[in-house]
């Protein structure tokens, strides 16, 4: 079972403190949507409002066309997996999974069948008689998911469910969640501050910041064409490097593709990003991702980078350093790089992959190819 979720102009405040301001969002049936943002951006609050664990001050929420923001949590047809799993410690795994169905007065045989089926789906049939305290973190996570599955909800809500797992288990569970979604085809909302989880799991990512939605898009849209400087800096590891724009030489370059900019530390840069006449120059920046940079031979054209930290990641090497003007920059080199901290290297960047942000943080990108 899956259903659409429509959030219309939802606002939430705790006293004078507004935590969500006029949020609107539509989620398709069967879609996997990730709410991504830093701590305190309101993503968990929004999820809890959908679940009914927080009240809605203004606006409405509909699931499958039915208004649910006035209903108690148990009547909304959603199931939630908590960061702390929130299993009932005194009940066995089977009892944990059956408890919600018992409250709904589901027939005993039907409960047993659903519990058994979910346990087999999650490969934990052998754990049904154990108590949560006798399970590992990963197993508890499965039970929490199983408890959600047996309810056959209209939508699954995940509140940072992988945060308490170690790196290896997190990666494996992430994959299993993606497979589970494929198998169930249910609507799923997943809250995280981990961009890797967001990029790998989501059909669409909702990037949230400072009470508002910054951008909604597919993972690659978010990564390649961030709507704002915040999204550009938040999504992607390492973060996008920013260089201040001091002037616009021409809004359109000679080949009519984009603007030529005067960039502090990089001189004149011909981009493929067309800019409007209303472009707010004050505080404008040019962004470059590390994968769009490369180290060049000494003597070739390029910018100087005094390397302060070298991060060797195996297949590539990240060079953290400073330009001659003092701006921090991250440059990518090959996995076999021999550069050491303290050295100065020359690098260049791909002009076709630049991002331009005006003084308000709004992003401009090269025109999309038809």
């Amino acid at each position: 079972m899956s259903a659409t979720i429509d959030i219309n102009s939802v606002t939430k405040a705790y006293g004078a403190l507004t935590v969500l301001d006029d949020i609107s969002l539509s989620i398709e049936a069967g879609e996997f949507v990730v709410f991504l943002g830093p701590s305190g951006c309101g993503k968990s609050t929004l999820l809890r409002m959908i679940a009914g664990l927080e009240s809605v001050d203004k606006g409405t929420i509909h699931i499958g066309g039915e208004r649910i923001d006035t209903l108690p949590p148990g009547k909304r047809g959603v199931a939630m997996v908590f960061q702390t799993y929130a299993l009932y410690p005194h009940m066995t795994v089977a009892q944990n999974m059956a408890f919600g169905l018992e409250n709904l007065k589901v027939d005993k045989a039907e409960i047993d069948s659903r519990v058994q089926s979910a346990a087999e789906t999650l490969e934990m049939a052998h754990l049904l008689d154990r108590r949560p305290t006798k399970l590992s973190g990963g197993q508890r996570q499965r039970v929490a998911i199983g408890r959600a599955i047996v309810k056959e909800p209209k939508a699954f809500l995940f509140d940072e469910p992988l945060s308490n797992l170690d790196a290896a288990l997190r990666s494996r569970t992430r994959l299993e969640l993606a497979q589970l979604h494929q198998r169930l085809g249910s609507t799923m909302i997943f809250v995280t501050h981990d961009q890797v989880e967001a990029m790998t799991l989501a059909h669409r990512i909702v990037v949230m910041h400072d009470k508002k939605i910054e951008q909604i898009g597919t993972p690659m849209e978010i990564y390649q064409r961030p709507a704002t400087r915040f999204v550009a800096e938040f999504v992607g590891s390492p973060a996008m490097s920013m260089m201040p724009i001091t002037g616009i030489v021409s809004a359109q370059s000679s080949d009519q593709k984009g603007a030529t900019l005067e960039v502090e530390g990089a001189g004149m840069v011909a981009t493929q990003v067309p800019l409007p006449a209303s472009f707010a120059l004050d505080g404008a920046t040019m962004g470059v991702r590390s994968e769009d940079t490369h180290v060049v031979q000494p003597g070739a054209d390029g910018l100087n980078l005094t390397v302060t930290v070298v991060e060797r990641l195996g297949e590539r090497t990240l060079l953290y350093g400073k330009l001659d003007t003092g701006f921090e920059m991250i440059v990518e080199d090959s996995g076999r790089s021999t550069v050491r901290a303290g050295e100065t290297v020359k690098f260049d960047f791909d002009r076709s992959a630049l991002h331009v942000f005006d003084g308000t943080g709004r992003a401009y990108h090269m025109a999309e190819e038809a």
């Binding site: 679940a51 009914g52 664990l53 108690p72 949590p73 148990g74 009547k75 959603v78 199931a79 939630m80 908590f82 960061q83 702390t84 929130a86 299993l87 009932y88 410690p89 005194h90 408890f99 919600g100 409250n103 709904l104 408890r147 309810k151």
Partner: protein
């Protein structure tokens, strides 16, 4: 290697000396504590007339079971035992029920003046029983509740400590558990009864044991409320058996009653030893 170093650590001369010192200090305290109890136990097996000459007769034969047979035949001690049991069990059930409900309400429910009411309840911890005893006596007298089980039980059922303990325990349970239950379509009382209350069992055990012991040993309120002999609790009944100030008569019989009165407390201690140790160590011992 690790085993070796661990071994060395546990046999270090300093540690051994300090362990021995602790042992002897504890032993002295244990002897001081247990000597009167053993003394009473010894007295209970001595003939009353022999003890009239001096209680040091306890150290020499003959010993007798007569005091215990007298207990079965000529005393109201069984009636007092029953009274004590009814009062202690009733009070314990009452304290557990009220403290759990109040603790849940203070920890989880939103209602007007919640914090103020909680402070007022805590204030009860600071008010000594002696300060309210006359007013309480008057009230129970007006309500015609003296010489009744309810009258003996009721004052002890409102336990400020119990409410405080249970509130803190409910607060320590993650709210996500309640939220998961809410999403499981669980009504509020069922969340309390089926989900949260079972999680408070350690606190319930601690509170229950201490309430039972307190109620069993209570002397002050039963002395005021139970004026009829058949409504005495054991503490009052035994005290009333004293025939003169120096207790030169019937000392063995009195000791036998005391031993009999202590049995339930000893049984409670034996069965709940672990909980009591955990409770008095503040949960530090795991």
């Amino acid at each position: 290697m690790a085993v070796l170093s661990k071994k060395n650590r546990s046999f270090s001369p300093d540690k051994l000396t300090s362990n021995r010192a602790l042992f002897w200090i504890a032993a002295v305290f244990a002897i001081v504590m247990i000597a009167p109890a053993l003394w009473v136990l010894g007295l209970s097996f001595k003939d009353n007339t022999l003890l009239m000459r001096g209680s040091e007769a306890v150290f020499s034969a003959p010993y007798t079971l007569k005091n215990y047979t007298d207990l079965f035949h000529s005393s109201l001690v069984f009636r007092w035992f029953l009274n004590s049991m009814v009062v202690a069990v009733g009070q314990t059930v009452g304290v557990l029920t009220l403290s759990s409900l109040a603790g849940y309400a203070f920890a989880r429910l939103e209602f007007p003046f919640r914090k103020t009411i909680f402070v007022i309840v805590l204030f009860g911890l600071a008010v000594p029983e002696q300060a309210v005893i006359i007013a309480r006596h008057q009230m129970f007298s007006w309500l015609n509740m003296h010489n009744s089980y309810l009258g003996l039980m009721l004052p002890g059922m409102s336990s400020a400590f119990g409410v405080f303990l249970m509130t803190q325990f409910f607060r320590a349970i993650p709210k996500e558990i309640d939220e998961a239950a809410l999403l499981d379509n669980t009504p509020r009382f069922r969340i309390f009864w089926k989900v949260l209350l079972p999680l408070t069992m350690p606190a319930q055990a601690t509170l229950g044991i201490f309430t039972f012991l307190l109620a069993w040993n209570d002397y002050w309120w039963p002395l005021i409320s139970a004026t009829k002999k058949d409504m005495y609790t054991l503490t009052i009944g035994i005290a009333s058996s004293q025939r003169n100030f120096a207790q030169t008569e019937g000392l063995g019989f009195l000791a036998a009653q005391a031993v009999f009165a202590s049995l339930p407390v000893i049984i409670v201690y034996i069965f709940f030893q672990r909980n009591i140790v955990t409770a008095v160590s503040g949960g530090a011992v795991k």
